[in-house]
């Protein structure tokens, strides 16, 4: 190695060291306790509730705090619409309702043993699951069919795969608890809708360790943010809501003593005038930051579901076995259990005016069946509403069962090792009747399928500034925001008649000038004679 190469090498090393320092920007406070030193956590623990009991010996209020949160109650009283929402109440266009599908759905409940959605969650102090949010080993996994418990014996998953999931080492996990990181939140939120990336489009497992171009905030190459760096918490209550989105943060940068300390909005850190160029800042009154800074979702290599047609579920092969078909990318395109699917990666969002309020079409509410697709949720806002801005959305489309007599959406009993669930019996008649019987919801016995849409606000997977949506993507005839209404977009909007008259006048002037010039040439020739 010659001298110059050696210097370059050393400088490179130094630079790497520095960039390492700089990129550890989201400095974590070192823990004040080494949990492996606590007697109560030495184990062995037979069951996860035993770990919780140990946690509560010191963190005396934590259980009560968690039981007061939406993560626990799965209930949300909407102040604007008056609706009672939450995972225990709403219907979505993925697996429908949680009701009658415990313990599959409640495998993501922040507790143990919620087996019946007709009842509130279990009341025992140690029914709260501390580990799902505070495990740092990555070994803790709420088994998908055990109502929130990890498995306590070797168990096969996915069913029929032959792969065995081993019970976790609860003592080791308990001794290594810490602050929540992306992996913790992601263990549920990345897998909504039944598999990786299915539901949201901007939340999937690629965010556990995302490259910078996928998420500039969460990437270890960038700021390495945990979810809770923005979704700040207070007494275990997490800020940020998909039912009542903060569509226009008017508080700006959050300063202790002055604001609400919720950082679940871009403005909380970036303020109200985040760009150097004034003209770009002029856009923030009408455009959510996300509209430009998330050019597409599902960018991390995980496809998101964009179409789910339940009406075709139940088709079996000649031997009466369920069918599984994959698309060219290896994502399922048909499953006998679930029907037809379409998936997408790098999906360009659709845009709409949004003031943050989301109203749901709850099971039992009348549908406008003559005008499909019917909205599963209705995002509120308009160009005239000063609280609204243009937001990006994933619009989930598909077909769902509804009651043709009552004209309402139906609860669906899809999961369960019984003789009525759709996924075991492939019969909609049985599944819908069972859902009604088990939940007590009305059902006439007559059903069909109707096309539905559901809006999912896109707010994660913020790209580096250089990758933001180009000005010309909207300011052109083939605009991303075509049809949004309520704004005049130079380059996209124009008055056709003004252009016609304008160009006509220009052409007429040119013509007159040309005529005059020709006449001059002709007459000059004559006068020269």
């Amino acid at each position: 190695m010659d001298k110059r190469a050696a210097i370059t090498f050393v400088c490179g090393l130094l630079l790497m060291g520095f960039s390492g320092l700089v990129s550890a920007a989201a400095d974590r406070s070192p823990p004040t306790a080494d949990h492996s030193k606590f007697k109560a956590l030495q184990g062995p623990f037979e069951r996860a509730e035993d770990v919780t009991a140990a946690c509560l010996e010191c963190h005396t209020e934590a259980g009560e705090q968690v039981r007061g949160t939406t993560h626990w109650t799965w209930l949300y009283e909407h102040e604007e619409t008056g609706q009672t929402l939450g995972k225990s109440k709403v219907i979505n266009s993925f697996c429908g309702m949680t009701v009658t599908n415990e313990p599959r759905c409640t495998s993501c409940h922040v507790g143990y043993g919620w087996e019946d959605m007709n009842e509130p969650p279990p009341e025992a102090d140690n029914a709260v699951d501390c580990l799902v949010c505070h495990d740092t080993t990555g070994e803790y996994w709420k088994f998908p069919t055990l109502a929130g418990h990890p498995t306590y014996e070797p168990r096969e998953w996915p069913k029929g795969s032959g792969k065995m999931v081993q019970p976790p080492d609860l003592a080791n996990i308990a001794q290594n608890v810490g602050a929540s990181d992306r992996q913790n939140c992601g263990s549920c939120h990345f897998y909504g809708g039944g598999a990786d990336g299915v539901k949201h489009g901007d939340l999937d497992s690629s965010l556990v360790d995302p490259p910078k171009h996928v998420d500039v905030h969460m990437s270890p190459e960038g700021l390495d943010f945990a979810c809770s760096d923005c979704h700040t918490t207070s007494g275990h209550e997490v800020t940020g809501s998909r039912y009542q989105v903060n569509a226009r943060d008017e508080l700006g940068i959050d300063v202790p003593g002055h604001t609400d300390l919720s950082r679940a909005s871009c403005e909380s850190c970036h303020g109200m005038e985040p760009h150097e160029e004034t003209k770009i800042n002029d856009h923030v009154d009408k455009l959510a930051c996300q509209s430009c800074h998330i050019p597409a979702f599902a960018r991390g290599g995980v496809a998101t579901k964009t179409w789910w047609d339940w009406s075709t579920a139940g088709r079996l092969d000649e031997d009466g076995n369920p069918i599984k078909e994959l698309d060219e990318n290896g994502d399922p395109s048909y499953l006998s259990e679930k029907g037809d699917f379409r998936h997408g990666e790098n999906v360009v969002p659709e845009y709409a005016w949004f003031n943050g309020t989301v109203e749901y079409t709850l099971a039992g509410e009348p549908l406008d069946i003559d005008n499909p697709p019917v909205p599963i949720n209705d995002i509120q806002g308009s160009a005239d509403d000063p609280d609204s801005r243009i937001w990006p959305f994933k619009i989930m489309r598909g077909k769902q069962p509804f009651d043709t007599e009552l004209q309402t959406l139906l609860a669906t009993h899809v999961f369960g090792a019984d003789d009525t669930s759709l996924w075991s019996n492939f019969s909609w008649e049985k599944a819908l009747q069972a859902a009604s019987d088990l939940s007590g919801r009305p059902y006439s016995g007559e059903f069909s399928f109707i096309e539905t849409t559901m809006h999912w606000p896109i707010t994660h997977m913020v790209a580096p500034a250089d990758d933001a949506v180009r000005c010309g993507s909207c300011h052109q005839s083939d605009s991303r925001l075509a049809g949004i209404g309520g704004i005049y977009m130079p380059g996209h909007d124009r008055n056709v008649w003004l252009d016609r008259i304008g160009w006509f006048l220009v052409a007429a002037t040119l013509f007159a000038v040309l005529l005059h010039a020709i006449a001059r040439v002709i007459f000059r020739g004559r006068s020269a004679k």
Binding site: K279, D282, D285, R470, C471, G472, H475, Q476, S477, I487, Y488, P490, G491, H492, D493, R494, N495, L498, D499, I501, G502, W503, L505, V506, T509, L510, V513, H516, A517, A519, R520, F523, S527
Partner: protein
Amino acid sequence: MSREMIFKRFERFWHWTQALLIFVLLFTGFNIHGTLDSLKFSTAVQVHTLAAWALIVLWVFAIFWHFTTGEWRQYIPTRNGLFAVIHYYLIGTFTGAEHPYKKTTKAKHNPLQRLAYLFFKLGITPVIWVSGLLYLFYNDWPETVAGAMELETVALVHTGAAFAMMVFIIGHVYMVTMGKTLTSHIKPMITGYENPDDH
């Protein structure tokens, strides 16, 4: 006959800089409008804004110059000889008639020119400026303005004025060729001086 300075140095500088800026503004403007697609939208906006500010600065100087030198009087409209000039351009030029207007340094524009330039200065340009500034500062409109009109109106007026500007330029450039020779009108705007027998 001694050569007389028709267009002073500042006047020529003003004219040609203004011409250049107007072409830049038209080109970038119609890129923003979407008629042309040869620039990135952001580039078009940046250059358009920059050129607009440059033109405004130039105009501030020009207005100052016109008033301090009294040159503004060159644009006072007159009917005296107007119809003779119109008649010349419509008919006389084909029959070999003499141009009816003799320019002097005190009155270097013929009555038709005076009208055309006055319309340019008091008609097209102020409309472009006011609408352009309203366009640029759309987000800072006081409520009284915001309540009275919409961005679309402003954009419409601004685009309309741009078309008027193009019509003016076509006519203006053509009229330049109407001197004794094709270049005898443009020469004083370049050198400042007119050949004694060219007018």
